[in-house]
Amino acid sequence: MFQFDAIIPWLSYLSQGTLMTLALAFFSASFGLLIAVMVNYLRQTGKLANVLAFYIDLFRGTPLLLQLSMMYYAIPRLISGVLNSVFGLEMMLQLSPFQAAIITFSLNSGAYVSEIIRAGMAAIPKGEIDAAKSLGVSKWHIFKDILLPVGLRNSFPSLINELITLIKESSIVSLIGLLDLMRRQQIVTAQTFLYFEPLLVVGIIYYTLVKLISFTGRLVERKWLYAYRT
């Protein structure tokens, strides 16, 4: 019934997709976190409130697939067209699938993570912030030394959740031809006419990755993050 021996030669090819999936998740999560931190700092200062709200609404309110298609197919052409018609520049901008994926996932993740961190910061007792203010601590130092470190710790389980989501959701890059885990499964299926076996292998790899991340997350929480609470 099963032909696992037929996909053994493809195992190394499939597992190479793991690196692509991990790279996408790692870079997008890192840039997304950076964006979210900047969004929250700007929110503290009260600047650009409408722009920030629009950014978050936009990326939470439209499908990721639409955003990725926009970033890969539409936006570079739009910019090229504008440069051409306004400045007379003859150039055809094009993002690589990897660049388009990283930019889209970072912006998308940044929108969600902004809200996750906001919730983590909101859980900090107002009195602690008042105490810092009463000592003459500046807004920037309050953000950097109290709101951010404690807010990130409070949000840590949700941030791990977001990383897990990125690992799995990044599989839509197969639609713009990036050779991640899912895309490689499709290629193996096309070559071997087998569905179940490569899907099972890829499923096990995803599951193992997620399991490793959640295990590491728990370990970090227990050993380091909440030492001051227990």
């Binding site: 003459g136 601590v137 001051y228 227990t230």
Partner: protein, 239 residues
């Protein structure tokens, strides 16, 4: 040193402070008492603009306190809160060194030396590496007092420093505050510990419904026959 003129504050439609006038001289120890909701804590928080007054002036050492310059005045006017409000992710030592480093521009070594002295003063040198979570209420409040003292403030605002404590921990905190009686620092103390206020303060103020009702030297304060004050004191003594 500090002059308050016609200070009012309203939370939405509720007037919490109604035209307070008050002058605090340098080095004096003033206690404010009064029933819950009388505006005592709000008055203290208006002084360092943690609550921004809706009306009135506050002049500190000749400088009117505004939103713009309050950051320069706060480092000289420390505050001790009812709920301690220690930075939960910092050790006792870091809680004390933090403002010294980022506000008073001390080096790490210098800040630690000052902080250790301050912790010693409140009897908690051995708890320097403990996080607030691992300290008792009384110990937390003593660290908070050390945090305030370490910055060598000209004035300290105590906002009901013992109200959130278990009864057996009140004395250890009051002892630490009482030690400040002989020092130059100006103290404004909101408290429900009438006996302590009597021993600590040279002047006492009774507030009710956002107004100062009685304001007298401690020796005369308890002789006052103002009906609101006598009624308040009788409630406390019969509690």
């Amino acid at each position: 040193m500090l002059t308050v003129h016609n200070l009012s504050h309203a939370f939405e439609d509720v007037e919490v402070l109604k035209g307070i006038d008050l002058t605090i001289e340098k080095g004096t120890k003033t206690a404010i008492i009064g029933p819950s909701g009388s505006g005592k804590s709000t008055l203290l928080k208006c002084l360092n603009h943690l609550v921004i007054p809706t009306q009135g002036d506050i002049v500190y050492q000749g400088t009117p306190i505004t939103q713009e310059n309050v950051m320069r005045i706060r480092p000289h006017m420390a505050m001790v809160f009812q709920g301690f409000e220690l930075f939960s992710h910092m050790t006792a030592l870091k809680n004390v060194t933090y403002a010294l480093e980022v506000v008073h521009q001390k080096s790490k070594e210098e800040a630690e030396k000052i902080a250790l002295d301050a912790l010693k003063e409140v009897g908690l040198e051995d708890k320097k590496d403990a996080y607030p979570m691992h300290l008792s209420g009384g110990q937390k409040q003593r660290v908070a007092i050390a945090r305030a003292l370490a910055t060598k403030p000209e004035m300290i605002l105590f906002d009901e420093p013992t109200s959130a404590l278990d009864p057996e921990m009140v004395a250890e905190v009051l002892t630490v505050i009482e030690a400040l009686k002989s020092k130059d620092v100006t103290i404004l103390l909101v408290t429900h510990e009438i006996g302590f206020a009597k021993a600590m303060a040279d002047r006492m103020i009774f507030m009710k419904e956002g107004e100062i009702i009685v304001d007298q030297p401690t020796s005369d304060f308890f002789q006052s026959d103002h009906p609101d004050l006598t009624q308040f004191l009788s409630k406390i003594y019969h509690a």
